[in-house]
């Protein structure tokens, strides 16, 4: 009896000490995430926190302050353990030495092989890997099936070339003066690199230079897409307000039900299902100039470990975990968010809606430009990219606009 009691007591002590050890040695990591990635990141972090002893504390940073915060944080030695940011800043951050080398860990991770190639490319610098796809987004073409039907078009046949977009847009605009065939945000550089540049890339063009000698705005695709946009603008197929839309109406116009076709992000699917549940819409890849040409811009966030992270080993464990089937499916797909591994597009959560499957597959065909100074070349309000679009589409000087943008982009890339 006494022996049994002693053993029981020891066992109880062991269990208690093990629980205590968990509590005593559990760590809390800090993670910064930009506002527009917070929703998706929170799902993953919640799942991690629910299934792990070590916790993550999420801090939201305004999108336009992330670079400043991280740069000053690294220089002051005050960095989070993990950071999730817009993938286009990856080349600048890697070159500046802000991030921890994850090459060995990720190359040894079997899940990393199936991550969308665009994420692998953008996170590689001089042969080393510094981050992984985290909360993806990708551009797609969306069309309003109800308007297609009313205009006498086949609602199940989306336009498969930029020329077909124009033809369909004409028929939709013929429905009435308040109904428009096509929409794009004419003063939003980010929206257009996301939705317009893939049409050019699909047609074989290269957009941005990685250095001053790199080919820039090459091929006929750039010119053909700009000319088609200009023609649609001149014919009144696009609302006048598009000219000044700095992104504030990027999704609102399509939600109004008066727009036939628009390039947009995969995030719009869940928005539309929530905000306008009765709208009948379809999703397809962004087309190029000829039949069969398709592309997409891979966006969203990458996750990386800032140099100087105080819990680097634990942070690496998180990066490995977020690529697992569990995190990708239960953390992302379950919440209508795309997994960063396109092979997981066909999953039980997306099965009910083929439009999400199409969007997830767009990740596999998408591109992301590996360039320094992306913000300067594209995202800035005075960037050569947005100036080119505006001068070509609204002023009508397509050749002059391309020539000027090419020179300015090369000058920026040469800095």
């Amino acid at each position: 009896m006494s022996m049994r009691r002693t053993c029981g007591g020891l066992a109880a002590m062991l269990v208690a000490s093990s629980a205590f050890a968990d509590l005593a040695f559990a760590d809390t990591m800090t993670m910064w995430v930009r506002v527009s990635g917070t929703n998706a990141a929170a799902h993953l972090v919640d799942l991690w926190n629910a299934t792990h002893g070590d916790k993550i504390e999420l801090t939201t940073i305004p999108d336009n302050q992330m670079v400043t915060k991280l740069a000053t944080g690294v220089q002051a030695g005050e960095v989070p353990d993990l950071v999730s940011f817009d993938l286009i800043y990856m080349p600048d951050f890697m070159k500046a030495g802000f991030l921890t080398d994850l090459t060995a860990d990720l190359k040894a991770n079997p899940n990393f092989n199936s991550v969308a190639q665009a994420y692998k490319d953008i996170a590689t610098y001089e042969g080393k890997i510094y981050g992984a796809g985290f909360t993806p987004d990708v551009s797609i073409l969306i069309w309003n099936k109800d308007l297609f039907k009313k205009a006498g078009l086949d609602p199940d046949k989306p336009p498969s070339t930029i020329g077909e977009i124009q033809e369909d847009a004409k028929k939709i605009h013929a429905l009435g003066p308040d109904t428009y065939g096509f929409y794009f945000s004419g003063s939003c550089p980010g929206c257009n690199i996301f939705t317009t540049s893939p049409m050019m890339v699909a047609a074989g063009s290269k957009i941005l230079p990685a250095n001053g000698d790199d080919p820039t705005l090459t091929g006929d695709g750039v010119k053909q897409v700009l000319e088609t946009f200009k023609a649609m603008w001149d014919e009144g197929l696009v609302p006048k307000s598009a000219q000044t839309d700095n992104g504030a109406n990027f999704t609102a116009m399509f939600k109004s039900g008066k727009i036939g076709i628009q390039g947009c992000g995969g995030f719009l699917i869940s928005d539309l299902k929530h905000d306008v549940p009765d709208m009948n819409f379809g999703v397809t890849f962004l087309p190029g100039v000829k039949e069969g040409q398709v592309s997409a811009f891979v966006g969203g966030d990458v996750v990386a470990i800032p140099a100087g992270s105080k819990h680097a080993a634990l942070a690496k464990a998180f990066v490995a975990w977020e690529l697992t089937d569990e995190a990708q499916l239960e953390g992302l797909a379950k919440n209508n968010i795309l997994p960063s591994r396109p092979a997981l597009a066909d999953n039980k959560y997306f099965a009910a809606d083929p439009r999400i499957v199409t969007t997830a597959k767009a990740l596999g065909i998408g591109y992301v430009p590996w360039v320094y100074h992306f913000a300067d070349m594209v995202n800035s309000d005075s960037s050569p990219w947005i100036n080119m679009l505006q001068r070509a589409i609204f002023d009508g000087d397509v050749d002059g606009a391309i020539k000027e943008a090419r020179e300015k982009m090369k000058a920026i890339a040469a800095e």
Binding site: T68, A71, Q75, S187, S241
Partner: protein, 293 residues
């Protein structure tokens, strides 16, 4: 005797020490750092090699900056008189302390307490072609045939911002002018009435001259505020169309935080500070001269 004078000197320094410390820590040292940074190629991502006056040479050739500065000066020249004249007119109308006039000036002053970003966002949507109430009002009143896209043209965008800022800050000038008007000795105005001076004569020959110090102060504050304009253009026009509504500060922001060129941004800031300093000194000098006369 000498000990007492020395003590007085130390006491004087002691009195101003907190202010000197504050100004030193928060103005002089950062400004010194700004000057040093302006002579480097410092990027937001690191670096910081000394490059002498290269950034200043670059400014000389930066047509974007000079265009933005010219636009800022135009904005200041147009907006300042509007704010001063309208503010003074409203002050004349509401200076008496009757309940209705107190209520009126409270209503006019209300927008002053709203944040500039919030008010800019409010006006951005009021001017919207699709859902903006202003367009609807103008169409309903048959002033325009169809809704206008205000921000598609640089001139319209400029006036849209001027309208929004006038609504936002005219109440501030009005309150200053009311204080000036109310501080005028009533006997002077009563004597003028007895001498047969009408309302306009009293306004232009007595009230305006006696409010001159406040008018000049308000003009200076308003002009400096306009030269530093940023939020309203960032939110309402995004510098567009085609970069025609960039202000000097917006251009500095673009270079420093979008293009990451902190060293160049610092040099631009120094140049803008010097320009504002010269204008302010001129204005203060003119004020002093007119006071003396």
């Amino acid at each position: 005797m000498s000990t007492s004078r020395s003590f007085d000197q130390w006491r004087g320094w002691l009195y101003v020490a907190p202010t000197l410390l504050f100004v030193g820590v928060f103005v002089v040292i950062p400004f010194g750092q700004l000057i040093v940074m302006s002579m480097t190629d410092r990027s937001l991502l690191g670096g910081g090699k000394f490059i002498g006056f290269s950034n200043y040479v670059r400014i000389w050739n930066d047509s974007g900056f000079w265009g933005a500065l010219l636009f800022t000066v135009k904005y200041t020249i147009v907006l300042t008189p509007i704010l001063m004249i309208l503010g003074f007119a409203l002050a004349l109308l509401t200076a008496d302390n009757t309940p209705l006039k107190r209520l009126t000036r409270t209503i006019i002053f209300l927008p002053v307490v709203i944040g500039l970003s919030s008010s800019s966002l409010l006006w951005f949507w009021l001017f919207d072609e699709q859902v903006g109430l202003l367009n609807k009002l103008l169409v309903d009143l048959r002033v325009i045939a169809q809704p206008m896209v205000w921000f598609a043209s640089a001139d319209l965008a400029f006036w849209a911002v001027v309208i929004s800022i006038t609504w936002k800050v005219v109440g501030f000038g009005m309150v200053l002018f009311i204080a000036a008007i109310q501080s005028i000795d009533r006997e002077i105005l009563e004597a003028a009435v007895i001498d047969g001076a009408g309302y306009w004569k009293r306004a232009f020959l007595i009230i305006v001259p006696l409010s001159r110090r406040i008018i000049l102060l308000a003009t200076l504050v308003s002009a400096i505020g306009s030269m530093l304009a940023f939020d309203q253009f960032y939110i309402m026009t995004s510098g567009g169309p085609r970069g025609q509504t960039f202000t000097a500060v917006y251009w500095i922001y673009q270079n420093s935080f979008v293009s990451f060129r902190l060293g160049y941004g610092a040099a631009l800031s120094i140049v803008l500070t010097l320009i504002i300093f010269v204008f302010s000194t001129l204005q203060i000098g003119l004020t002093a001269r007119s006071e003396a006369q």
